[in-house]
Amino acid sequence: MDGLVLGIDLCDEYTQISCMQEEKSWTVPTVICKQKNTDEWYIGEEAYAHTLIGDGIIVDKLVKLLIKDGTATLGENRYTGLKLLELFVKKLLELPEQEYATMHFKQLVFTVRKLSPKLIEALYACCGKLEIPRQRVHVLSHTESFVYYVLSQKREIWNNLVGMFDLSEDRLCYYEMKVNRGLKKNTIVAEYENLEEGFNLDILENPSGARLADKILCSCGERLMNKKLYSSVFLCGKGFREQDWAEDFMKLVCSKRRVYMETELFAKGAAYKAADYLNEKTSYPFTFICEGRLHTTVSMPVRQRSGETSVVVAAAGDSWYENDALFEVIPDNQETVDFVLTTLDSRNKRLIRIPLEGFPRRPNRTTKVEVRVSFLDDRTMEVVLKDQGFGELFPATDIKIRQEVML
């Protein structure tokens, strides 16, 4: 094998790895354990085993620990969330490494429940420590992985509307994906709803709890799927490994619908995307509107040789995290830097004007402004304007304007 192409679903309860080449997968509880008095680390079931026999100290909920900037004291040492995640990822990647006897990662796509810059940066840092180049590491939301998984199936499965219930340890989530056909490009709109009705899977262990769970699912199903025409419905998560307890719910969803079960859907979706990164031309020629992608196009009216024109800084459907535009402009009798925000349907346009407050007064067209546009999430754009002066003729100052714009 000349290199691994992996999709990794990283959650607080479990982590799944899906290997693209041989469709092999691993599911590991997201826990790490340090053996007492040694520097040996174990993850998953091995970690539980060492903790049970009493020679190790275990840490769980590694994602949450990282997001909260938490630390854990194991033995005499205190470890940051990042360090523990780094150790966990290192041990995790040893699984496919040992299986295929290669340490070369061609593409690595992580998928997480909620995208946050901190988590994304942490994953990049973890892979950086393992000397995996940054351009081979990507992070997707679960919603996006769901879309990639579905689009990788036969066309009739995603022709129209696709729904999915994800029932995991203490979380019930409904995902929906729709294909909007356009003149130039088809758009995939996907969203999810974290249902308040989520329950702990432990209640399934007794009959009355199971009946209650079935009832909860039925009421959610009726509310969410009412009168909608689905091409297919997916069920995923640990809760659906066995469906005996959900008799009524299964009747409801299976009525005149194609229903599929897939327990490693997110990891597989990520693996499909990882494989797609290796292609010169994408196998998914769609505009994606979902968590992790921008819903708005950001452009800038500028002047070029040919006259007035508009430069697209970020397009709807672009990944907000990977979008980081840096360029320079020279205002001509203008004391603002303007952006135009356009919604996907092009119906709503909004002009955002950022005044160059505090910039020194100079002759016209002798102030270069460095414009950096990045995104804090799919709804927040960050603009940083920096005075670059005009060479030695009009030296730059330290003046910098930072503004957050709600999209």
Binding site: M300, P301, V302, R303, Q304, R305, E308, V311, F327, E328, V329, I330, P331, D332, N333, Q334, V337, D338, R365, T366, K368, F390, G391, E392, L393
Partner: protein, 270 residues
């Protein structure tokens, strides 16, 4: 009202523009100096160094080649400047047309007037050493050809001002004296008087001093006092006061920076 998007130019080695004593880091700066200082770039500006800068740093190889061929042909070399402006997309077409007309107008000027304008341009950008040399050259030419039309008094005055700006008070004083005797202009007396206030070693001779009335002296003293007051409130003075108000480490670092800047500016102007 608009925003101009800049070309991506990763300039590693800037172009040193000798006549202005500055480095140019972009095509926009190059266009700016061509457009704003046409007299300084009309002759001998386009050389191998500039062509290398266009080719290697600004990634304008095609333009460099076009210019090379143009210069080898018998076409008007001034058009090369217009070519640069057109290619770099920093000025509009009407602005470039206006620039072309200015160039043509300059070329129609008599030699001495052209040279005087060039010296004045240098003076305007604080290149006093270079300006003074040109004024001297013009003086020499006026001596050889008295009908060239440029009054010696004015040239001596300009030379004096160049010297004064470079803090060569003695030479400035002598130049103003010559300007006074060439033009018999009382304004020169005023300047001579101010120089005596700035430098105690300088004294006006009896003949000059006798021409100053007590009223004039009082008025000039008041003006000098006011100028001193204004200088005390200037931005530079405020910066200095601010610097001396800081703790010793920051003060020393700030002073080093300031002295370096002043030295650089002085070297450039001389």
């Amino acid at each position: 009202m608009s925003l101009w998007i800049c070309r991506q130019e990763a300039v590693k080695t800037p172009y040193y523009m000798d006549v202005l004593g500055i480095h140019l880091f972009s095509s926009q700066e190059l266009c700016y100096v061509i457009y704003n200082y046409p007299l300084l770039v009309l002759d001998d500006f386009v050389d191998d160094n500039l062509l290398d800068f266009l080719r290697n740093e600004l990634n304008l190889g095609f333009l460099a080649l076009k210019i090379e061929r143009w210069l080898k042909s018998s076409e008007n070399p001034d058009d090369v400047l217009v070519m640069i402006l057109q290619e770099c997309d920093y000025y509009t077409t009407p602005e470039i047309s206006g620039f072309r007309q200015h160039l043509q107008a300059f070329r129609k000027l008599p030699h001495a007037e052209f040279k005087k304008k060039k010296a004045d341009s240098l003076f305007a950008i604080s290149q006093f050493g270079k300006a003074r040399r040109l004024y001297y050259e013009l003086l020499g030419e006026t001596d050889v050809n008295p009908g060239s039309g440029l009054p010696a008094g004015q040239l001596w005055h300009n030379i004096g001002t160049c010297y004064a700006r470079m803090f060569y008070m003695q030479k400035a004083f002598q130049a103003y004296q010559k300007a006074f005797f060439a033009a018999r202009d009382n304004r020169m007396l005023e300047k001579l008087y101010y120089l005596t206030l700035l430098d105690e070693k300088l004294t006006m001779d009896e003949r000059e001093a006798s021409l100053i009335t007590p009223e004039q002296k009082t008025a000039w003293d008041q003006k000098a006092e006011q100028a001193r007051g204004n200088a005390g409130q200037s931005k530079t003075m405020r910066e200095l006061e601010d610097l001396f108000g800081r703790d010793p480490i920051k003060r020393q670092a700030g002073m080093n920076r300031l002295i370096t800047r002043w030295k650089k500016e002085y070297r450039s102007m001389v």
